[in-house]
Symmetry: C2
Subunit: 242 residues, 2 copies
DNA sequence: ACCTGAACACCGTTCAAGT
DNA sequence: ACCTGAACACCGTTCAAGT
């Protein structure tokens, strides 16, 4: 604590403190006064480095940078370029792990006017992998748009079906089951499938499923595009429906 | 104005006022005092119906309800069940149009602890369409997870490459181009493709592309699943790679 | 019953003043 | 130069008081 009070303030120290507060107490707790408290100084001192907007932008930059590093780190450098899907998949899963450690981050990133510059190295690596595997730049561009939301954690749990204690069926739940028979049946099936596992929905498996859908679709486009550059989209549509 | 002051307050009037403020000035402007101003009353009067948390939850409920209505409305009731992809696609695009009119909504929805009940009719319709087309409930379940983020607008623009005035290449931009050759080339290609169009990225086209990837992938799973219920996932992986 | 005035704790931010 | 005390306008919220 005395050591901390000694070293001079800096943008990096301020952002590190903000990250600490966000991880421990969530984004709403990241106030100028709270961050200053962590740094053993007054709120007004922070204004030499950031105002509130810059503080949140810096926090976004930091967490996205952490994602980029994690996604780029743990890779053996792809023996065969044809394995591009596995390389991209592992990068996306590594990104997801970081986001799971910072569950407050996705909505924060989503409210920023610009993506932080720390995403670019990650995008560069993804484009490099795809282009080297024979994807055109047009396809790589679309892939960035398709995968971006998954990389930045926008794909999250939407559907936590209230973990019903079975048996205690509320009259409200019964009314819903009558009005929505398909969803009611789906819930039954989900409960049955989830026997013995942790939650009702296996979000990890569902993330990987969606990711696989996107990657397989992109691969199909790559193959068609490699053969002929024209009419690729419709040809793929026909091919994947076979 | 006098008429407005006359009619008594109600939860619905409060939420309508909040929606008005959000559309006009964004979510941060939705304060108890600002909403009260629109209703010609004092902030404290709102507390008979909502506190701040309930106000934002109600706002989420309202906007997601609007999506659900829009997505369910404009549909001729699907002559052929085999056209399930077209039906689902149109619903997703209708949902997107609503979100584009309320650009403040996605991050708000993302910060809510639970999805609002107003999504359920939409999920019901999607599951019904898929199951009637021969998808199993397991696949329909995964589809909800794959499509949910797209329906609720979590897929948004991440990559607005700063719309550079060409020619005025900053030294910073040049440094980035050297460090990230693939992204630099991708930007060139994107600029070339965008000649004569509005923005650098055609977000509508990119949304539709990703949506098509997901729908085609689901259709491939449906076909394999219809043939044999076991080992569907790996079979599809092989099939879509052909 | 429905609404409100006064008050409290907290927020972002400015600015003149300290060292 | 770097930091701070006092102050301002604005939040969410409580509660006793009005009608």
């Amino acid at each position: 604590m005395p050591a901390r009070a000694k070293e001079p303030l800096s943008r990096d120290r301020v952002l590190a403190a903000a990250l600490e507060v966000a991880d421990a107490e969530g984004v709403p707790a990241v106030t100028m006064r709270r961050v200053a408290e962590v740094l053993d100084c007054e709120a007004m001192s922070l204004y030499h480095y950031v105002d509130k907007k810059a503080l949140l932008a810096g926090l976004t930059e930091a967490v996205v940078g952490e994602i980029a590093v994690a996604a780029l780190d743990d890779l053996p450098p792809a023996a065969d370029p044809a394995d591009w899907r596995d390389v991209v998949r592992r990068r996306c899963l590594a990104a997801r792990e970081v986001m799971l450690r910072h569950p407050w981050a996705p909505p924060l990133v989503a409210t920023q006017p610009q993506p932080p510059p720390t995403v670019y190295p990650l995008f560069e690596a993804l484009v490099a992998t795809m282009v080297d595997a024979g994807c055109g730049y047009e396809l790589a561009h679309r892939a960035i748009h398709s995968l971006g939301p998954m990389l930045l954690g926008f794909t999250q749990e939407l559907f936590e079906p209230t973990a019903d204690d079975e048996g205690a069926a509320s009259p409200q739940a019964e009314a819903m089951a009558l009005a929505m028979p398909y969803l009611a049946r789906l819930a039954e099936v989900a409960v049955h499938e989830a026997e013995g596992t942790i939650g009702l929905c296996d979000t990890q498996a569902e993330f990987e499923f969606t990711l696989g859908l996107v990657l397989d679709g992109l691969e199909a486009h790559r193959r068609v595009g490699a053969a002929s550059a024209v009419g690729a989209a419709s040809a793929v549509g026909a091919a994947s429906a076979v």
